[in-house]
Amino acid sequence: MNFDFSTSLAHAAFKNPIFTASGCAGSGKELAQFFPLHELGAIVTKSIMLKPRSGRATPRMAETPSGMLNSIGLQGPGIDIFLEKDIPWLLDQGANIIVSIAGETVEDYAILAQRLRGVPGISALEVNISCPNVENRGQVFSCDPITAQAAISAVKHNIDSQIPIIAKLSPDVTDIAAIAEVCRTAGADAFALINTLLGMVIDINTMRPKLAGKTGGLSGPAIRPVAVRAIYQVRSRIPDAVILGMGGVTHGRDALELVLAGASGISIGTATFGNPNAAITIKNELEALLIERGFTTFTEAVGYAHREEN
């Protein structure tokens, strides 16, 4: 079959549109046991911060109907160890890498971008601005147009110009397309939609919030309709928006929904927890579904649900 499965996010090209989701693939090593990482379009790394982070206390997760809550709190080794250990290892595997970064202040974002500047082998930067801003009462950066813009600008001014910037947005806002617009103005080349929804589970035995951090991020199939809506909305408002979609994709058919809504790439998160090989299965299923529908290239299908009525 002569189907062209390749895709691109702004000026970064990938051999196929199925990626891991940030925070859902460990350092890559753990998944590599189940399949060769270079079979995916890209590995999106866990959001890395400046310093080592212990993350939140446990319990850190609760299963919910067709989903789960997590409150990892961005546990990680910090940018130095990450650059020294994780990146070279991923490159060794022949993996395409999208580095996800997260900061607590606008300056953090700037410094992280500087540290990544000139590092070879990075295809794109995902800027996780769905995390708390310590300078602003812990309000999430992407929940406020001003801080969202500031974080993206900080990255834009400090990273190599050929590295696309993907702004990762929270769905917990009144108007996600408006946030996307300011991020674009600030220099974002693409959007990652969506991060988790804020949720809570109360343990009916202890009669307190189940997670040590009280609230957590809701992911999995439960949120897929919100992801599809967010992608569709952003694509409607910004017709040439480049979108990396995610949220509850578990089967090829789910990925197809997000693609039709406007996603040029699909990240697989929670599905991997239920099935270590999920990303590969989804990749194969998506390809088959697209061919079945008569597409000859993947990119034809991107945003196809927006076409005029005939």
């Binding site: 046991q33 080592p52 990892i72």
Partner: protein, 282 residues
């Protein structure tokens, strides 16, 4: 690093029997049975195709048997707890489930014959019988203490006792064996049997108590911990617990790949709901 033999198979249930409060379930798993070591666990998808339960459930391998060409089996002891485990215990034979394993670390086997004490709480006894056999085959003396809230929750199959020199049973309500907690009886058993190493598996509170006793007696204590796990393969960071590394630094380590079997001494116990001071990155 994650168990390098782990694979996902469609495992057929070839037997499912209620034993006391538990179900003893046997799965046809093919080649991965040969790789399973005492302490390893498996992760099973639950609820069928349109399940609202998106995460796998972790179960310690009770026993595994490689039967060569006729395929391998693993046996689990499952407590019907919530939706997922109840679904699993309710499955008829010939049902197939998606099973990933073997996962995690296994109990370390001493190279010399030693006097080992195996302590299990509830279904935590499950992995200990396979361990007992291995230890016995290495010339170790094996004593065992099993505790539970009541008699029905003691899992101790007759054939499992073959490898054990002594078996002490305790229950919180006194409905079987001694009345009390396992930890109440350990000091005496340790001393009487001149125990050199303790292996344990059970609720976190019990493991902590045993750790203290092991400390006091200056014994090595290998315990299989149980934290809520979303992935079981090291990619999600939900299952962490604070552990002191060889370098003396406390880190939030993943119990699914650094564990479930860990050195009791290295665990910073009783920190649920908080990160211990001095933890790396706190």
């Amino acid at each position: 690093m994650i168990n390098r033999f782990a694979a996902t198979v469609a495992a057929e249930i070839i037997s499912n029997k209620k034993v006391g409060a538990y179900h003893h379930i046997v799965f046809e798993v093919g080649e991965i049975a040969a790789q399973a070591r005492p302490g390893n666990f498996v992760a099973i998808s639950v609820g069928g195709e349109n399940s609202s339960m998106v995460l796998r459930r972790a179960f310690a391998i009770h026993r595994s048997m490689d039967r060569g060409a006729s395929g391998g089996v693993v046996e689990l002891v499952v407590a019907p707890h919530g939706g997922g485990s109840k679904w699993l215990t309710g499955l008829p034979v010939h049902s197939k489930v998606s099973l990933t394993g073997p996962l995690g670390t296994s109990f370390g086997i001493p190279t010399e014959p030693v006097r080992a004490l195996l302590v299990g709480g509830g279904y935590g006894s499950a992995p200990l019988f396979g361990l007992a056999e291995v230890l016995k085959s290495r010339g170790c003396r094996v004593d065992m203490v099993l505790g539970a809230s009541s008699a029905g929750k003691i899992y101790a199959p007759i054939e499992g006792k073959r490898a054990v020199s002594s078996l002490t049973i305790t229950t919180d309500d006194g409905s079987a064996g001694f009345h009390g907690k396992v930890s109440d009886f350990l000091p005496r058993i340790i001393e009487e049997n001149q125990i050199e190493i303790i292996y344990s598996c059970g609720p976190m509170g019990m493991l902590e108590a045993i750790s203290q006793i092991a400390d006091a007696h200056n014994l090595v204590h290998q315990c299989a911990v149980e934290e809520s796990m979303a992935c079981g393969i090291g990619v999600c960071m939900t299952c962490v617990l604070p552990m002191r590394g060889d370098d003396g630094v406390v880190r939030m380590e993943r119990s699914c790949i650094k564990g479930p079997v860990v050195d009791g001494e290295s665990v910073i116990w009783n920190t649920k709901g908080s990160i211990p001071e001095g933890t790396w990155g706190r």
